[in-house]
């Protein structure tokens, strides 16, 4: 066991110049983020751009996006384990490791959003005062931590067995893999319930939120994994054949189309009925007075639709085109789920007051810092895991 960790630890210290540059860069940005968070702790959340009107902002937006990224790991796991795709099997652990890193980022984003992180122990069952099952947030704490543990276990067990040149025993991890697949749906569904159960916020109060969350996650997550896989193959770290990419591309295309369909259905209901509640949507799209969000949401929709067209066109088999489409999806869905989902529910306020939200520089630095830290964790885990994956059985 110790040998395993020492091996992993040592692996993280050998790498090319690019690797070192990348790690140093991530570390530096994480520290900048830590510095910004320290400033926020010292002077309060007034250092952010939030206020009593828009009381959740960038932190929760990133949180929502990343829960989706973590849940999307299952879209790789399903072909590998259920359809027994051998090529996919080789690299599936890389996406499970990403789920771990995404979970770490999620937990950090919630933590930096708290006014009193020193009281986080109040949320520990038994020790604190846990409002379970009433509060959806307590459900979320449970399922997120559970998902983190399940993925950690699977990654650890598979890598550890391979490290010792053994084949992992199916009985010891396949049931956990299946549990994790089900669990992945639950983390994103629970996160959607956090919002859709609030009657006082009509923008969120729609039964379509959970399915939309899943569809957009299953487009953005695998897009990110394609970029990672292609990069690692190019740098010679791993090998796999193109069939894998083809499969993931199909997953992305289908999810993206479903996502666009859901969004359209929701927009139709809102705009056609034209009830009072449509004001959040019309503000979001810039149809009701001045809106800082409008350019963002239009760009996001444009990116999603353009990516869908690329993925349906014959050019999809071209790797360059695919890479561009993946990037468009990641940026598009991040914008749609972050700015386009969390913030418009607060504008106008429940009493009809239009107050705009602009994140502060300090707040953005904290966000960038959390991202850098998560990517650092992922990079180091990959570095430790890849030599083990590449060993012949």
């Amino acid at each position: 066991m110790i040998q395993f960790f020492v091996h992993g630890f040592i692996s993280t210290f050998r790498g090319s110049r690019t690797y070192w540059l990348w790690v140093t860069f991530l570390l530096a940005v994480s520290l900048i983020g830590l510095n910004a968070w320290a400033r926020q702790l010292a002077h309060g959340l007034a250092t952010s751009g939030m206020g009593d009107e828009v009381s959740w902002g960038m932190y929760i937006a990133n949180f929502v996006f990343l829960v989706g990224m973590a849940a999307a790991a299952v879209m790789m796991v399903i072909p590998a384990y259920i359809f027994k795709d051998r090529e996919m099997h080789k690299i599936v652990v890389l996406s499970e490791l990403f789920a771990v890193a995404a979970m770490v980022m999620c937990i950090l984003f919630v933590t930096v959003d708290l006014g009193r992180p020193d009281r986080i122990w109040h949320m520990v069952p038994r020790l604190g005062y846990f409002n379970w099952p009433g509060s959806m947030l307590t459900w979320d704490v449970l399922v997120l931590n559970g998902y983190l543990l399940l993925n950690l276990y699977v990654c650890f067990y598979v890598l550890y067995s391979r490290f010792h040149g053994r084949k992992p025993k199916p009985a010891l991890y396949i049931p956990v893999v299946f549990l994790a697949i089900g669990w992945a749906f639950s983390i994103h569904t629970t996160t959607a319930f956090l919002f859709q159960g609030l009657g006082g916020r009509p923008f969120w109060n729609s039964g379509l939120i959970a399915p939309r969350f899943l569809a957009s996650a299953f487009a953005a997550g695998p897009s990110f994994m394609i970029l990672v896989f292609l990069f690692l193959r190019k740098s010679g770290a791993i090998t796999f054949n193109d069939q894998v990419i083809g499969r993931i591309r199909v997953i992305i295309t289908v999810s993206l189309l479903i996502n666009i369909f859901f969004a359209g259905s929701e927009l139709f209901a809102e705009f056609y009925s034209d009830s009072k509640h449509v004001v959040h949507f019309s503000h979001l799209f810039g149809l009701h007075g001045e809106s800082l969000l409008a350019p963002w949401i239009w760009t996001a929709l444009g990116l999603n639709v353009a990516a869908a067209i690329l993925l349906l066109s014959p050019a999809r088999r071209n790797q360059g085109v695919l890479i561009v489409a993946c990037m468009m999806i990641i940026v598009g869905i991040w914008t749609e789920k972050g700015l386009g989902f969390v913030i418009p529910a607060f504008i106008p306020t429940t009493l009809g007051d239009f107050v705009q939200y602009v994140p502060s520089v300090n707040e953005l630095l904290v966000c960038v810092g959390v991202w850098a830290f998560g990517l650092l964790v992922y990079t180091l885990m990959l570095k430790g895991a890849i030599p083990i994956i590449n060993r012949e059985e």
């Binding site: 570390l27 309060g44 009381s55 947030l137 916020r201 009809g352």
Partner: protein, 309 residues
């Protein structure tokens, strides 16, 4: 065993030196990154940190905590304060009735509330929001929230103050992950300022924009401090916690009226015990046409509006 693992058994000098340098540098940089904590505006004391939830405190705990808070307040504000903790009275359920026909939008209630309840003055926290509405409809989206004082009492408009509606079915209580906010027996929704973790979920859940968050350290001068305090209502708040209207429970549970009612120059505000058949609020509910805000949400407010002369 593959060659790869053998190679890993030894770690080259160059790797080691780089590794050590990186580790050292990051520890140093980490410490530097945390430097802003040195001028933190508020640091919880050890007693505060381990303090349990209000409802798990024994009478002895409470005595000790109240004494500690009084000492701290005296130190910080140079003024002697008393912290009381009146309990809900059996057979009492409070309700508020606001006569929109009489409200002139002068905002005296807003400022009396601030004075009574020790809200932060810088930044300013107000529990009551008075909206100016065009006659003819109750459309919140076209309401004006920040009209200047000279635009009060305009006969072409009507004015509607909104504060915590003390819902019978409060969404804010349902969503709080740590039960830092709850409904008391007399129907008042309270917050334990020492237990709230500042997640602001309740603020997102409240349909009436009634909750206020302490985005920075509350700024309150000692002349402004009201030394007559309730533990669950107007004692000074911390940075990073939620607060809101409590029907002035430190006054009303002792038989007095809320501050906003006392100051109202037109008598638009009425307050009393809903379970007492002879109370003024009961009379109004029985004889006038009252309504509640956003009835469709099923929050069942105990704050009623009435259009009367």
């Amino acid at each position: 065993m593959s060659g790869d693992q053998k190679a890993c058994a030894g770690i080259s000098r160059r790797d080691f030196v780089t590794g050590a340098a990186v580790t050292l540098a990051s520890v140093g940089a980490g410490a530097a990154a945390l430097a802003p904590l040195m001028d933190a505006e508020e640091i919880p004391t050890a007693d505060e940190f381990i303090q349990k939830h209000y409802r798990r405190l024994t009478p002895a705990d409470k005595k000790e905590i109240f004494a500690r808070l009084e000492r701290e307040i005296e130190k910080q504000y140079g003024k002697k304060a008393t912290i009381c903790d009146p309990k809900p009275i059996d057979g009492v359920e409070f309700a508020y009735v606001l006569n929109i026909g009489r409200c002139i939008g002068c905002r005296r209630c807003v400022y009396a509330c601030m004075k009574e309840n020790n809200q932060s003055r810088d930044p300013q926290i107000q529990y009551i929001r008075v909206m100016k509405l065009k006659k003819g409809s109750v459309d919140l989206e076209t309401s004006v929230h920040d009209y200047p004082p000279e635009e009060a009492a305009d006969p072409n408009y009507f004015y509607m103050p909104v504060q915590c509606q003390q819902c019978r079915n409060p969404p804010c209580v349902k969503v709080c992950p740590v039960k830092a906010t709850w409904k008391e027996k007399d129907g008042i929704i309270v917050i334990d300022y020492n237990w709230c973790i500042g997640c602001r979920y309740c603020e997102a859940a409240c349909p009436y924009h009634a909750r206020r968050f302490n985005w920075s350290k509350p700024g309150l001068s000692s002349e402004d401090l009201n030394p007559d305090m309730g533990y669950l209502s107007n004692r000074p708040r911390y940075m990073g916690v939620m607060e809101k209207c409590t029907f002035c429970l430190h006054r009303t549970r002792e038989g007095r009226y809320p501050a906003c009612l006392e100051v109202c120059p037109t008598g638009a505000r009425k307050f009393g015990n809903l379970r007492d058949p002879d109370s003024e609020v009961r009379k109004i509910l029985e004889n006038e046409r009252v309504y509640v805000l956003k009835q469709d949400l099923g929050t069942l407010p105990k704050f009623y509006y009435v259009f009367a002369k």
